[in-house]
Amino acid sequence: MGWRTDDELQQMLRDSAVHYFGSAGGPDHFRKVRASTAGFDPAAWKQMGELGWTGILLPEAAGGSEMGLQCALTLAEEIGRSIAPEPFVASAVIAATVLAASDTPAAGALSQSLVAGTRSVTLAWQEQRNTIGLPAFATRFEGNRLSGVKRFVPAWHADSALLVAGTDGAANILAVLDPAAAGITVRPARLTDGTFGAEIAFDEVVIDDHAIILRGSDADEALSLAIARGTIALSAQLEGLASALWNRTVDYMRQRAQFGSNLSDFQALRHRMVDLYSEIELAGASWRRAASALDEGRYWDIALHAAKARSSQVAQDMGRWAIQYHGAFGYTDEADVGLYVHTAIRWSSWLGNAVSHRRKALEAHRRERGIHA
């Protein structure tokens, strides 16, 4: 752990996560989900529900374990380490944050099935490529009908519950939708981590009044918090992934000998591994600082942008050198390295990639300093 520390609750959670993923997670599980038609393993999600993880941010009133963001992030690290393709960020962090902000029966019902792990929930909010933070929506609620197109919807599978964000022109609105309702067209696409994303078009879809769970500033607040939390949790997953891949690569370098020495003895390689380790340390510190800023009420702080940028970058860098140092074997599908690299590609490009977040960080800094106000 080094300078990193867990409080008692986090330590317990980490122990149980290490134990669970030790037997149920990792490369074999990843391969199984990747090979499945749905790109989703309902049994694994159910188990995570039984462990209290799908409801980690949901209030006790809804049956959740309400352990807070820090605990959710501990879990995210371990999920990253074991490249679990379960929709933790999409569902247990982003969708759950939106659901927790609503006291409507529709939100309550969905929360309960999320807590139990019987459903996963996805929030369709993004419309444009490269959106960071809460955008102005083009998706419109007019009367009782919804029209628009949502893109890059994460964690899509046939049994996924769906939340949609849009506007009535004056205020943002969040609603629960039945994905099978008339007027909804879903175009799923397999992602590199084995799950599906989707583009979802809404054409005059009828919205029941009871389906609206948040409106106006409550909706804005919940959306902003949800996406910010999701971005930080994804950063923690990426850092966990990079750190696991670092360890895996060193283990390989220790047992692979060429020119009469283990790869782990060559100075050029050792120095590269030290530099990658440094980047991982920076990532670990960066998302922790972002989490503190968020806890203090600053959702879209410089620290958030720095964190997603660093974590995305280091996961991709680590992937690049992990393949290289595994040699030709690293280029095979049989070697598990590629699974981490594929997962890193998906996670680092979702919710803003490194270069976009770096620009956002500088923009935020310049705003604070009054440059280009």
């Binding site: 120095h271 030290v274 530099d275 440094s278 510190a285 922790r288 410089i302 942008h305 960080a361």
Partner: protein, 385 residues
């Protein structure tokens, strides 16, 4: 003397130190990065802080220091950065004193510590030699015991501020027939000893801080041996509290970045996409190193010292300082070639100086490649094992 500083809350302590700096710190020294206090300026600074009760924050009280918590020591560093204070070497208090406290005799402590506190005596560190840089333990300057004296012969190099020092602490070879680390002894010598000469070396930033120090039959009393004979390698490793942590802070990078921002705006590059991405990247590097540094410091305050990351922070901080200074030249365009202040956007700084001052940071205090070797051994095991 102020009342017990450790009893103050961190906020109150910070305010008190900040107020004192604002009231007392000489304006002409507030040239961050570029300016380093040396000679009489350095003596004056130590004396000022001594008289006002701020001297030697990391020293235990029994030796006349403040005995401050690590947290408060780091607050002092933060406020000095904020106030744009000049760099100070303070080899006596930071490098020698911990050695004397741990390995010195009572007579040595009585003789040397008080003048260091008062700024009466400045020290320099005689470690590197022409053929012993990163591989310091291969050093060849000899000390031979003759009666109640040691006779020192050889040459030291890169001895910072030797020309202003009153004394030198020097690593010498006292046994050639054993493993190289096992035959080194730690000696003290006055700079005015017969046979000791100093030759300053002009560096790329037009400074003559670095020196060669020649020992030609320099005789010092046997009581100037610190620690036991042939145990100098271990003795030299003693360090106090805050230094390794403070060295990992991106202080110089942050200060250089402020110059960069002014410059970028001044030359109208703030909308240039390439410059923006490069500046954004440096900005995030500074942010993240700041985040790592403060969390590592928090851990150290709790008593959890992560040696690997302390070594890495030196590499990260110095490499980053260089990259920020590289970008300064890039942003200045043709004016990067000026050998004077650029005078763009209010930047009255000689960019080449910043650029050059950033060069040796990756070499001194353990070249970054050596740091990587050390950390690699911690993380991946020793080579061949």
């Amino acid at each position: 003397m102020p009342d017990d500083l450790n009893a103050l809350s961190n906020d109150a302590f910070r305010t008190r130190w900040r107020d004192w700096l604002e009231a007392n710190y000489p304006q002409e020294w507030r040239v961050p990065i570029i300016h380093r206090l040396m000679g009489d300026d350095e003596r004056r600074w130590h004396r000022m802080t001594y008289d006002a009760g701020w001297r030697a924050p990391a020293w235990p009280k029994e030796y006349g220091g403040l005995g401050l918590s690590l947290e408060k020591q780091l607050i002092m560093h933060q406020e000095m950065e904020r106030h744009q204070c000049a760099r100070v070497l303070d080899s006596g208090a930071l490098l020698l004193a911990p050695v004397l406290m741990k390995y010195g005799t009572q007579a040595q402590r009585d003789r040397y510590l008080a003048p260091i506190l008062r700024g009466d005596e400045l020290w320099c560190q005689g470690y590197s030699e022409p053929n012993s840089g990163s591989d310091l333990a291969s050093l060849r300057t000899t000390a031979v015991q003759e009666g109640d004296q040691f006779v020192i012969n050889g040459q030291k190099i890169w001895t910072t501020l030797a020309a202003y020092a009153d004394h030198i602490f020097v690593l010498t070879r006292t046994n050639k027939d054993v493993k190289k680390q096992a035959g080194i002894s730690f000696l003290l010598a006055p700079m005015d000893a017969p046979g000791l000469t100093v030759r300053p070396i002009m560096n790329l930033a037009d400074e003559d801080e670095l020196c060669e120090v020649f020992f030609d039959n320099v005789r010092v009393p046997a009581e100037n041996l610190v620690g036991r004979l042939n145990e100098g390698w271990t003795v030299a490793k003693a360090l106090l509290g805050d230094e390794r942590i403070a060295n990992g802070a991106p202080t110089l990078s942050r200060q250089a970045f402020e110059v960069l921002e002014q410059l970028v705006e001044g030359v109208g590059l703030d909308d240039d996409l390439g410059a923006t991405d490069r500046v954004a990247s440096l900005f995030c590097d500074i942010q993240d190193l700041g985040a790592l540094h403060s969390q590592v410091a928090d851990a150290a305050i709790r008593g959890e010292v992560d040696n690997a990351v302390l070594g890495l922070m030196k590499v990260l901080a110095t490499d980053l300082f260089q990259r920020v200074s590289d970008e300064l030249l890039r942003a200045a365009g043709e004016d990067a070639g000026l050998q004077r202040a650029v005078g763009i956007g209010g930047v009255e700084t000689d960019l080449r100086k910043i650029y050059m001052i950033a060069r040796p940071s990756t070499i001194y205090a353990g070249a970054n490649e050596v740091q990587r070797n050390i950390v690699a051994t911690m993380l991946m095991g020793a080579v061949g094992k």
